[in-house]
Amino acid sequence: MNLETIKSEIEASVSGCRLEIIPNASPSEQHSLLVDAARAVAVARFLRDAAHLRFDFCSNVTGVDWPSKEISEKIKVKKILDGVEQEVEETRKTQSLGYLEAVYHLYSVEKKHGPFVLRLRTEDRENRAHLPSLTPVWRSAEFQEREIFDLFGIHFDGHPDLRRILMWDEFEDHPMRRDYVEPNDYEYEPTAHDEVLQKAKQHQNGVGC
């Protein structure tokens, strides 16, 4: 079971599909395959149905949040200083675009192999956080994709029953995102800890924390 060969097989049978192998540096050597969201369902069906692969068991589905990061790089710029052209080093800061990721761990009950790690990425973290649902392919993704929708805010198009699962229906934010801030709307039970007392004070004064 070589990831490279599976990649070329998918390319051969699913037309117009962009794939990328994401290496994993840890000793577990569970490398993953990043699949272009537009063709994800076709790729999933191929992985499930191909006679020698038969990944019929989708074990684990989860989300990962990768917020936008500030990348600073040093570049050399030519500038005119005191009438003389000089080469000056400057740091340029760029924002990398953040995205959300859904990770699927696939096994084969029939062939007893695995795991095969499949990754899908959204375009951004706000308005275009959509991915195709793989629940029609593997039923086991039903609750887990609902959980990702609930906690990370990825919308799975084609999911039969996309509702919140762990948080209550009226809840608005997505608590597993890295930039999630706890709302200042619960009752504090002040204890002897300074941090809690300070928070309670802010809450009583109506200052957001």
Binding site: F57, N60, T62, V103, V109, S140, E142, F143, L151, M176
Partner: protein
């Protein structure tokens, strides 16, 4: 004399009137109901006694375990994993330790592996015994089977208490080993408990296996077909009751499970009775594993000396580790960015995923069978809701 007015209370739910001739009744079963094994609710639509629709609702125990673990050191989450499936804290520890060991490439000394197998299989024994007790309780066999199971469980919990200091929240495993070594006395005591267990099983089986009421209530109830079981990611005794030979102890051979001779019991019909029977047979196989492990265990170190447990910082990367917990496949998915706490920490809870097919198993059944079908899945809400 002043008249007291009482507010009108609707004790019986009203039938919905928009169904024309077919009047359906919507019932909310739970969340505070003894048969739901915790705080769990099912929105059931009934046509007379027959279930037409069923939607499980959970999240009442949600505390965002994953988020807490992401703000905690790797070791700091270890005691918290005890609280997932609070009946089987040792197997939870094992799954987490296994995932971290995969992430950082840690080797576990042989004695520690044996201790893991011994404590893990003892956990399986007490979980399955209690589950059967709970299932009988759901069926109306008040008291006796459950109390018999609890009596046996208490003996195993006493062993855990003397080994780890806690009956249920054991916090026993460490990355690359176990926290404390078992003394010769402890092993002797464990041997006694193990040798007495088959007698309890025989007694239990005499009481239950060929019991007419049990057979009438469970055979052909809550049937789960093979194809659906695999596609819906069902694992553990439930999957094997549907006749699929998939035991992670055999497939992955994690730890030292390749050294033991044991069988994987399989069901034929995938009904509640098969799920009961699979658990009885698995307990007998667990005893076989325990006998071999107790015989083969030899003195040695219990902790990998190269692993720094405090201030543990694995290199950037990711790993998914899974074990066959008593409830099914318990997995941990970790992403490290090289810092002292995990970037992403995910628990794959078998209880939650085994609930996916609850509606399919209950459709067309009587409402009383919903209770035993749910009981036969073996859920613990601490793990479902996390």
């Amino acid at each position: 004399m002043a008249t007291t007015t009482y507010p009108t209370a609707h004790i019986t739910p009203k039938p919905s009137t928009d169904g024309g001739e077919d009047q359906f009744l919507e019932v909310s079963m739970g969340p505070q109901h003894p048969s739901t094994h915790g705080v769990f609710r099912m929105n059931v639509v009934l046509d007379g006694e027959r279930v037409v629709k069923l939607k499980p609702v959970f999240g009442y125990l949600h505390r965002n375990h994953e988020k807490i673990a992401e703000n905690e050191s790797y070791l700091g989450s270890m005691p918290y994993t005890d609280r997932l499936d609070y009946l089987c804290s040792i197997t939870n520890n094992w799954a987490y330790a296994l995932a971290v060991e995969k992430l950082a490439g840690i080797q576990v000394p042989e004695r520690a592996e044996y201790l893991r197998v011994i404590t893990g299989e003892l956990t399986r024994l007490q979980n399955h015994a209690c589950l059967i007790g709970f299932l009988m309780q759901d069926m109306g066999a008040s008291g006796t089977p459950l109390m018999y199971a609890f009596r046996e469980r208490e003996k195993i919990l006493d062993l855990f208490e003397s080994l780890t200091g806690a009956r249920m929240m054991c916090n026993y495993m460490r990355f690359g080993g176990c926290r404390v070594d078992a003394s010769a006395d402890w092993l002797q005591q464990a041997q006694k408990v193990m040798e007495a267990f088959p007698r309890f099983l025989d007694e239990y089986e005499r009481l239950l296996t060929e019991n007419e009421i049990l057979m009438a209530r469970t055979q052909g109830v809550g049937v789960l077909p093979r194809e659906l079981a695999v596609n819906a990611g069902i694992t553990g005794p439930m999957l094997r009751a549907s006749g699929i030979n998939y035991d992670i102890r055999k497939v992955d051979k994690y730890g030292i499970y390749d050294r033991f001779a044991f069988k994987v019991p399989l069901g034929e019909h995938g009904d509640v009775y098969d799920r009961y029977m699979i658990r009885v047979l698995e307990m007998r196989e667990s005893i076989r594993i325990l006998q071999q492990a107790m015989r083969e265990i030899s003195p040695g170190p219990i902790q990998d000396p190269k692993t720094k447990i405090r201030g543990f910082r694995p290199k950037a990367g990711e790993a998914y580790g899974r074990i066959e917990s008593p409830k099914g496949e318990l997995g941990f998915y970790l992403i490290s960015d090289g810092s002292p706490n995990p970037y992403r920490y995910r628990v794959r809870p078998p209880s939650l995923i085994n609930l996916t097919v609850l509606e399919e198993m209950c459709l067309g059944q009587n409402v009383a069978d919903v209770v035993i079908t749910l009981g036969s899945i073996d859920i613990v809400l601490g793990e479902v809701d996390r």
